[in-house]
Symmetry: C2
Subunit: 425 residues, 2 copies
Amino acid sequence: MSNVTNQANAAAFERICAAEPLLLDVRPAIEVVPGMTPATVLTSGAPRTWDEYVGGQRDAIVGGALYEGLAVDPEGVDREVRAGTISIGVCQDHACVGSLAGIYTASMPVFVVENATTGEHAFCNLFEGPDPQRLNYGIYNQTVADTLDHLRDVIGPILGEAIRAGGPIELKPIMRRALNMGDELHSRNTAGTVLFSRELFPRLLEIYERRPRDVRDVLEHLSSSDYFFLRLSMAASKATADAAREIEGSSVVTAMVLSCGDFAIRVGGLGGDWFRAAIPRVDAKLFDGHTDDDVEFMGGESCLAETVGLGGFAQAAALTLQDYQGGSPERMAAMNREMYDITVGEHPYFRIPLFGFRGCPTGIDVHRVVETGITPVLDIGVAGRGGGQIGAGVLRTPLACFAAAAEAHTARYGHHESLQLKGSR
Amino acid sequence: MSNVTNQANAAAFERICAAEPLLLDVRPAIEVVPGMTPATVLTSGAPRTWDEYVGGQRDAIVGGALYEGLAVDPEGVDREVRAGTISIGVCQDHACVGSLAGIYTASMPVFVVENATTGEHAFCNLFEGPDPQRLNYGIYNQTVADTLDHLRDVIGPILGEAIRAGGPIELKPIMRRALNMGDELHSRNTAGTVLFSRELFPRLLEIYERRPRDVRDVLEHLSSSDYFFLRLSMAASKATADAAREIEGSSVVTAMVLSCGDFAIRVGGLGGDWFRAAIPRVDAKLFDGHTDDDVEFMGGESCLAETVGLGGFAQAAALTLQDYQGGSPERMAAMNREMYDITVGEHPYFRIPLFGFRGCPTGIDVHRVVETGITPVLDIGVAGRGGGQIGAGVLRTPLACFAAAAEAHTARYGHHESLQLKGSR
């Protein structure tokens, strides 16, 4: 048994729970994202070669490059990427977190979130709105471009001004309340969105005198979808998970990401290595008119939420999801309970009412996953062949990448019997 | 078996479910409440003689009269009431619904809610704010008077202007969403309050240019407490329950009310008669420093919510109440399930996520209460001796008044075997 690993995992759990994500600003990516250049496109998932990006994820990357004016047509993008004048990077290497295909280009506005405990920053771009045709779902056309322009020219700047004027907004208390109001902060963000809107409203009043129409646009954007807050939950989760990176000996997962071709994880004590596995079938509830054959994976890093004890790890707080992604209250509670068997401890601040306010299962230990055979469950949005959202569901992650990570961990640190901390109520 | 009663109960259930409460306005009571006069004080519960109003409820009535300037001291109020120059009425006879002591005087602003299905109006006054010292909890002093002035001069008029300017606000969709966000719309109204606030924001923008400070005060009022929406839920419940009154043959409860001395119900087929019983002990969770001996009943009609399938009848939608009023998720779910045994049907629109979106148990049949021995449960705020809120809890209503009502119903309509409708998903 490795005391080093148990201590490291306890430290990882502690850092995750101690994170204090603050929303500082909204800025164009080029101004704040580390390593961003005018010709960079960031996308979701562990790194792949250009030819390995296929389907909707490739379409989204191409769309991002076109939107940014890096080429005039898809063939041009392909040429520039091969020539190295357009650079494709992955979100996780740039402190960003990608929703579905997760496209970031220089001019796109991003939320700037700081973990006040560590001082580190994380970034997430803005929700495009309720239209199922979105760049992050692999679609690029004039409508999508207009939406992105509106985010860049109106929504982003007004949000940024409101946030700066009133000072940083603490996201953790909003997230805690949202868990008491039916959100799990991945596939359901209704309460988070309304609570955040209320926080913003007094700040918007002063801007209203100068820019009445723009402020009305922001209000419209905030109330037109219940998913606005997802990007803040994702940025907060990324800022939180990053606090558990690079802890010598830790077998706790610090990132889970999807690309069009694989599911991959990183582990705290194993540096920047990605452990990959094929994507399994998702148990999805599809919008009318779609079948399982239409499902296509095009990336996704919103499961950073599950990495820090939210989403599928808090689904018993969001039973209305039975209508959106399928399942029954009993099944959701049972899946949620399973997650206690593979995590280091129970979150002292994020709690689940249905479980008598038991803390969310937090800090996935790859050894426990292998020992129990229970893999993390993710609440995810489902994209369709040809682009667009076609449903939502629960993804049971594949064992192979956890097994590979556990093996690498054992090779480096020796045999380990995992210890589970118990949260206190 | 009485077909008349089964048909009447089905009609009562139907009318309750079909109600469409709209918020039309906020107006001084004198302008809108039927039968209101400059020298009237309305209070909660079935009617009592002046000498029967004791403790906090009497203090509240006296406070209301003093606030309205109907006398200069408590002795003066007593003289004027005995002389008949101050008139004490009960809320339920004036289309009002009282929170705790439930004091209405002429100048107080009230929400004007219409059931669009019937065209009938119901009224509820405004939440005084988070300070445990409130008139409706039996306290009257300068602080309380200042709060009431602020409601009358700023909060009420601005709310009224915002509502009128944007047109009626549909309350039913807000209530439905709130049930999906952890409210049961009696002891928890957090989601309702935030959702209503969001509805109001765009309307407040235009008023802001003319009255910036007052609009900020309204925002402060809206965000300072999660109970703001309770008064709207109450007015909506009253407008809804009233639709089931005066249905020949109906054994469905149309009102449940508390005074300082009794719990009383009215039944659809039994005219305006009140059936009364002594108030039982409440299973309460008290704020720190209080004991059961401190509990005092001073009235309350917010259980109109339970009358139409909310509150205790939807508590499984609001499991966070385990922290506020005690109990466990399992116990709350079990109590909620019991209510299906005494109700006519399942609400087609108000649904409970934990029960797989089963509709709320709706339409209490006094015969079923007597047959099963199961009496309605109410989520209530608990007042303390000497005034103020000291906790919250669950009240199991007494059987006696349901038994008396069932007996009167049988005497009038003959023996009845109750029929339970089943809601459809």
